[in-house]
Symmetry: C2
Subunit: 253 residues, 2 copies
């Protein structure tokens, strides 16, 4: 990290017909977004979900790669015919789609000579020049080419690989957050929040999220900032407004 206020952004590209059909509920977006945010200060600027169609993957990878420090893709690096992420990204970056020597050796060792069939070999094919992201659960590695990182779609496998990815990512400024949950409706506090937001301009980001829980209606006010002093001052201003309006604050929320 060279500058104290370095902003690092990432985009997530989810590749898979099963997510677009609604059959599978994505579990990777919120995990990756939280992990990037909380551990590395990398802010997710955009997420896209696209089908298993080469032209769509190519187009989206190129555009997201251009506009972000990193792109993380999930899905499509397995052994079956609908796994076309590696090939599509090779095409996007005009790289040869070829066996990665180390990945080939890892998989050959994992499956044993006898069981190392063509579909399994396919998982060692990736854009030429890729760096590997080791997979401690099912061997088949992910990879990084340019600023694009390709991870599997199965959430448990993806999670097991995440620490092996850390070394490739330059950290940014961590965003801190503070949450105040109150027993009220949004429109009761909207004006106050808007005033506080205006006062703190772009240094602080105040979000307001209604919820229904245990028969009670409430709002979670989430304050986010990379500046702890701003965050605290903003938090205090909001508490002052809530007290003035006699709005009940949920304890331990």
């Amino acid at each position: 990290m060279t500058k104290k206020n370095k902003k690092i952004s990432a985009a997530i590209l989810v590749i898979g017909n099963e997510i677009l059909s609604g059959r599978t509920v994505d579990k990777n977006i919120s995990f990756l977004a939280s992990w990037l945010n909380n551990n590395l200060g990398i802010k997710v600027s955009e997420v896209r979900i696209v089908p298993d169609v080469e032209s769509r993957i190519v187009k989206n990878v190129l555009s997201l790669s251009k506009n972000n420090n990193y792109v993380l893709t999930t899905g499509g690096i397995g052994p079956t015919h609908d796994d076309i992420t590696s090939k599509s990204i090779s095409k996007a970056f005009k790289k040869k789609y070829t066996y990665h020597k180390e990945a080939y050796a890892i998989l050959k060792n994992y499956y044993g000579n006898k069981n190392f069939n063509d579909p399994r070999k396919k998982m060692a094919k990736m854009p030429s020049g890729s760096k590997l992201i080791y997979n401690p659960s099912s061997a088949a590695p992910g990879f990084m080419i340019k600023n694009v990182i390709c991870l599997p779609g199965v959430p448990s496998i993806l999670k097991s690989m995440i620490n092996n990815l850390k070394k490739y990512l330059a950290p940014g400024l961590i965003t801190h957050s503070s949450t105040i949950s109150v027993e009220t409706v949004e429109s009761n506090i909207a004006k106050g929040l808007e005033e506080v937001q205006k006062k703190h301009k772009s240094f602080v980001d105040i979000g307001s999220y209604p919820f229904f829980r245990l028969g009670k209606i409430g709002v979670s006010i989430v304050i986010r900032s990379s500046n702890k002093i701003r965050l605290q001052s903003c938090h205090k201003s909001i508490i002052k407004i809530l007290k003035r309006k006699k709005i009940k604050i949920f304890k331990g929320a």
Copy 2:
């Protein structure tokens, strides 16, 4: 529906910093995708998640609106300062951002004259010429302008409104699906599936999704097609391969 083989596509645009930060796990994408698919034969072609930033909403709405029959947005139509969907979409389509008479009357009636404050009034503001999508749970309506449909972000409220949206959507060809769950790993069936996929070309879409369940490793093979005969023939071909390879098929899967 004028043509039997009419293909209708929709994009989903999720608007909200809370999803991009990982704080909130989206629950609307899979619900909307399934509902559109199963009830109306509308295929979701793409999903994007963007922050509460006007320029980003404008840009993405315009591009998705151009490339799809429908765009469904979620989030950002509430009373607080970070709810900027209606204003942004007015801007995108160069429409006046103004009170919708009927929406104003609905909200005024719901809250009563005394409690109808400015933040609540804001929920009646939308692009001029919008059609309303009634909200049976919390009154504030969604709206449709051109081919863009704006829904709230709170999943329970969104779900309660979905039937009021149906009349605005032209149905497409329903996609049928059939699932075969087997006790094996993907690489054992990859070759067979690829052959069947090639045989049925673009008429059928075969997906392969590994899972770990109750200590067992398995794969769900999902076949999707708008043509029931193709679907059945494809299903039979796959069963034949599985039997030949002596792969166990999970019952009732």
